[in-house]
């Protein structure tokens, strides 16, 4: 598989180390990438994958260690140098400019100064030859996430790189789109290009990668051939111990249970030119069940969450009902007082105020619902009470932190998410709405959060989970509905749901005739 014509690897990394303050993000990393191989880089969040990749692409400078490119020692001091060597990168959080067209975006990363019209023609030709159709004149802000990724890939390919780094490329794709991507990657491999594939989706890695390097806590813990491993043995290498499987006890009599959250014909006009309108959404979430909402990112999930949580109020008060009461005209606090709890997608800024302590963040979201416990006479904050409550949450959710009551921004993403979810769970809310509960959270913590959500529902609450992670939804949901272009499908009971069915709905197929209407746009 590894075509080592001249005996040297395309890329060799020796002892690469990056230290941030007291944290060693990458600790003497060794990595070899041969020509014509797809090499997986595996690791949990915070294992040092992104730091390593940023050093390879020149956006970070290592503290020590060496990088060899085709046997030559090189210093990659900037992304420009990386591009000149032949290293291309497809970012996880796209580095595209929304207000510019696809062709302009591509032109920006090419330094040859050729006119935009010729770049557009080249991009169009290349995109069709790889089966990734792309309209160079379209405005990026109007495109779906999958289409944006195509631009990133085409942009990367136009630079004729020898090594392509893909950072979690499938996290934003439908299963069918992901298949298409794998075909492209296999074709690139057959052309002799090397690919560094970063993912935490083990099945994918087993399917397309030739070798894998596993990182844990900034160190390489092993090299392996993923095809000879099982998903659970790979997970064990990543996490360092067994990941507890999530248990979802079956529930009886949901159909007759009281709906605690009702969405009735919820519509919303697009707030900005680039946002999605919501079109007549109907959904009931009953006591005791977990409903999952799947969908490719950017299909209206964010707008839906804002409407349900009360970040945006509805014209029609009956379009959102919580515990049988109209809540469409209520603010977030009003909805919380009815017994609902919300966990937004964006942790810093929406879920927590970054520069405030965890205990203060607790007070911010619960001052109304737990006013008696946290706020004393004359509006004085009971510091001891909020501190004690935040410590209780930290303990229950196993939040790892560096100080007794740190600022929210000082926590890693996964740990902050545990705190934010825990903060809401601690109230035992009747209705819990969570957007991307485990995005960027490591496997152990994700299992913990998922189990906690299931247990909340089994204790009689209604739980609504919006997620891009299909594995997660299949693990925890009793029924899965799919959001596409601002419309929500009927929930599929989990017993009838398959990856294929859900994937087709994510691509925009109608529930009834899913087989032949897969959107190809």
């Amino acid at each position: 598989m590894s075509a080592n014509q001249d005996g040297t690897n395309l890329l060799e990394v020796r002892g690469l180390t990056k230290i941030f303050g007291t944290l060693t993000a990458c600790d003497h990393i060794d990595l070899d990438i041969a020509r014509g191989e797809i090499h997986a880089l595996l690791g949990e969040n915070g294992a040092g994958k992104s730091t390593l990749v940023k050093m390879l692409f020149g956006s970070l400078e290592p503290n020590s260690g060496e990088i060899f490119w085709s046997g030559q020692a090189v210093r990659i001091s900037s992304p420009g140098v990386a591009k000149k060597l032949g290293i291309g990168m497809v970012f996880q959080h796209f580095s595209l400019f929304e207000a510019l067209t696809a062709a302009e975006n591509i032109a920006l990363s090419l330094d040859d100064g050729s006119p935009i019209s010729s770049i557009a023609a080249k991009a169009r030709a290349l995109s069709f030859s790889y089966g990734l159709p792309l309209d160079p004149e379209s405005l990026v802000g109007d495109l779906s996430v999958g289409e944006r990724q195509r631009i990133e890939i085409i942009r990367c390919l136009l630079q004729t790189p020898q090594l392509i780094i893909l950072d979690e490329p499938t996290s934003v794709l439908t299963p069918q789109e992901a298949d298409k991507l794998f075909e492209t990657l296999e074709r690139l491999r057959s052309e002799g290009k090397s690919i560094l594939y970063i993912s935490h989706r083990l099945e994918e890695v087993k399917r397309i990668c030739d070798r894998a390097t596993v990182l844990r806590h900034g160190k390489v813990v092993g090299h392996c051939n993923p095809r000879e491993e099982t998903a659970s043995s790979l997970a064990r290498m990543m996490v360092g111990n067994e990941v507890q499987a999530v248990v979802r006890a079956p529930v009886e009599g949901i159909a007759t249970a009281q709906p605690l959250l009702e969405i009735r014909n919820l519509s919303r006009k697009p707030a900005t030119p680039f946002s999605i309108p919501l079109k007549g959404i109907n959904l009931n979430v009953r006591a005791g069940e977990v409903i999952g909402i799947a969908g490719v990112a950017g299909n209206g999930q964010g707008e839906f969450f804002e409407s349900v949580s009360g970040e945006v109020l509805q014209q029609d008060a009956a379009s959102v009902r919580i515990r049988g009461k109209d809540a469409g005209g209520l603010t977030i606090t009003g909805r919380r007082l009815l017994g609902a709890a919300f966990v937004p997608e964006e942790r810093l800024g929406h879920g927590a105020a970054p520069r405030m302590k965890l205990s203060e963040n607790l007070l911010l979201s619960r001052h109304a619902t737990d006013g008696k416990a946290f706020v004393g006479t004359g509006g004085m904050v009971k510091s001891a009470a909020i501190y004690a409550a935040s410590q209780r949450i930290i303990e229950a959710m196993d939040v790892r932190k560096s100080a007794p009551d740190p600022e929210a921004a000082a926590l890693s993403g996964g740990n902050l998410q545990k705190f934010i979810v825990g903060r809401e769970l601690d109230r035992q809310p009747d209705v819990m709405v969570v957007n991307q509960p485990t995005w960027g959270v490591d496997a152990g913590a994700a299992a913990h959060i998922r189990q906690a959500l299931i247990e909340l529902s089994r204790s009689g609450s209604a739980v609504l989970v919006i997620s891009q992670d299909l594995d997660e939804l299949f693990e925890i949901s009793d029924a899965i509905a799919v959001m596409h272009n601002g419309e929500l499908s009927k929930p599929l009971p989990i017993a009838e749901a398959t990856f294929e069915k859900v994937g087709l709905l994510m691509g925009g197929a109608e529930p009834g005739h899913a087989e032949h209407t897969l959107e190809t746009a």
Binding site: G113, L139, F274
Partner: protein, 306 residues
């Protein structure tokens, strides 16, 4: 007829400093930097321009000095906000306050001194054509610079690769950095260009508009230029339109006041602001176009990864 031509000429003279300062600020803001120091840079240009002209006897040297003064003064802002990542709003405001104070101090010996006006560009034969002759061929040099500058900035921003790069930085500096674009370098150049423009606009005030030095002679024009950029949704031709609407209503209300129209003079004085805002809001109704042209990273400090 002569009166009309004279009125049109005064409109152009009133609009030119606004246009130049606003076009400069437009480039700065398109790169994602909000420099609220336009007023300060303008007044520094005015005092520098007058001073150099007064000391050397050449208004042309004064013109160059005005440009240089604005550019150097903006460099202070650039170092603070770009290299030291200070808050752009606070730094811009202090630049204005500093400029107003410093120019007053520098200009104490110029107060009341007669200045020399930058000569009009008279082309024998063409300038004497009735009506359009004086409008097209008989104005001050800075008028021509302002029109050429608007066209050049339009071409630069929307037709050149460098302009595209500049706009991309304004849209998302993190994405631009990830592509290997030198964000800070581009922004330095943009800020200095904006400073040079503001300086030139100030020079217009003290070398053309009223060829003398008066403390605070910029009289809020820097702020109007700033507002024009926003209301024109960061598009050069709209800035031009806005500057001229403002100039026209400004001159119009002066004449109206002179005629003694029975309307409170305070209301007339507020008309230019009102009219400019109304017109520019009306032409910016297309929300989508406005979104596309708004630099999304405007005002955010950029600190690259270590």
């Amino acid at each position: 007829m002569d009166i009309t031509v004279n009125i049109l000429l005064t409109i152009a003279t009133a609009a030119t400093p606004l246009l130049i300062a606003a076009i400069g600020e437009l480039v700065v803001e398109r790169s994602g930097v909000l420099n609220l120091g336009v007023e300060g840079m303008m007044i520094m240009g005015a005092v520098g321009g007058f001073g150099a002209s007064y000391l050397t006897g050449s208004p042309w040297i004064g013109l160059l000095a005005a440009i240089a003064m604005g550019a150097v003064f903006s460099l202070l802002f650039a170092v603070m906000t770009l290299s030291l990542a200070t808050n752009q709003v606070a730094t811009g405001l202090s630049l204005t306050l500093l400029g107003l104070g410093l120019s007053g101090m520098m200009g104490t010996s110029f107060v009341g001194q007669p200045g020399e006006r930058l000569p009009n560009l008279d082309i024998p034969g063409l300038t004497s054509i009735p009506v359009i002759g004086r409008l097209l061929f008989g104005q001050d040099p800075i008028f021509y610079i302002s029109i050429a500058l608007t066209a050049a900035v339009m071409w630069f921003l929307f037709k050149t690769r460098t302009g595209l790069t500049l706009r991309s930085i304004g849209d998302s500096h993190t994405s631009a950095h990830a592509l290997g674009i030198k964000v800070i370098r581009y922004r330095y150049l943009a800020v200095i260009f904006g400073g040079a423009c503001a300086g030139l606009a100030g020079g217009h005030l003290s070398l053309v508009y009223t060829p003398q030095w008066v403390e605070n002679m910029s009289a809020g024009r820097g702020w109007i230029a700033l507002a024009l950029v926003v209301f024109a949704s960061w598009r050069p031709w709209r800035v031009l339109a806005g500057a001229y609407i403002f100039g026209a209503v400004w001159i119009g209300q002066l004449h109206a006041q002179a005629f003694g129209i029975p309307v409170p003079s305070q209301f007339l004085s507020s008309l230019p602001y009102l009219a400019t805002v109304v017109v520019l809001v009306l032409i910016s109704r297309n929300k989508r176009l406005t979104m596309m042209n708004t630099p999304a990273s405007l005002g955010q400090p950029f600190v690259p990864d270590r």
